[in-house]
Amino acid sequence: MQDPWAIVALGGELDAHTAPRLREQLSGLLDEGRYHIIIEAERVEFMDSTGLGVLVGARKRATEHEGALAIVCTRPNIVRLLDITGLDKVFPVFPSLDQALAS
């Protein structure tokens, strides 16, 4: 049986240059019917609103199919971006993968 959660581990910098690759990857998962996705972002050194926009788009598609998209991250710069954009109230954010999986 397939694991209900697809875990996507990200690293490096997520901006307008790199976000299209993530969009493609997430679209591939969603096209396969994987509507429960965890983004493991603990190794993401930088993320901007374009990167966040990709996650918003994926979350929209997932929730249309009664799925969910959660983020695992404690990095202050990313937590701050989520706070500034108000998306901390949209995405479930967990400090560890274990806690995300247990939710």
């Binding site: 307008a16 930088f46 971006l81």
Partner: protein
Amino acid sequence: MASVTSAIEGSEQEAVGDALVLEIPGDAAHLSTARLFAAAVGRHFGVDESAIDDVKLGVSEAVTTAVDDPDRAGPPTIVVRRVDDGTLWFEVRWRRGDGGDLEASMSLQVVRGLFETATLSVEGDGETRIRFGLTNPDSNVPG
């Protein structure tokens, strides 16, 4: 190829010393260069390490606004200078033709969320600027 110059920039406020200027191609591939420049210049001017991430994000989002501008008519330029009241100003400039409103840009909203001093101005000749200042660059409170 990005080019770095040092120049004294005119302003309503008196610049203290030279401004640091980076012109980059209008391509998202150079966003990381813009962030490296912002962080290095911020440290050069004594910005507290805890505020460097905000400076990087602010400059990156401002450059993204320029790169994504469908009416952009020139490459983005980053200008950083300290003025006589101690404020450190970061500015991203580009030229644009007549076109749509930039206010809906999510990147611009993030800059405004980060810095209360953030402004967008579009002059009659198309010179467009997003700027923000750190009033206490050596403290950890963004301006």
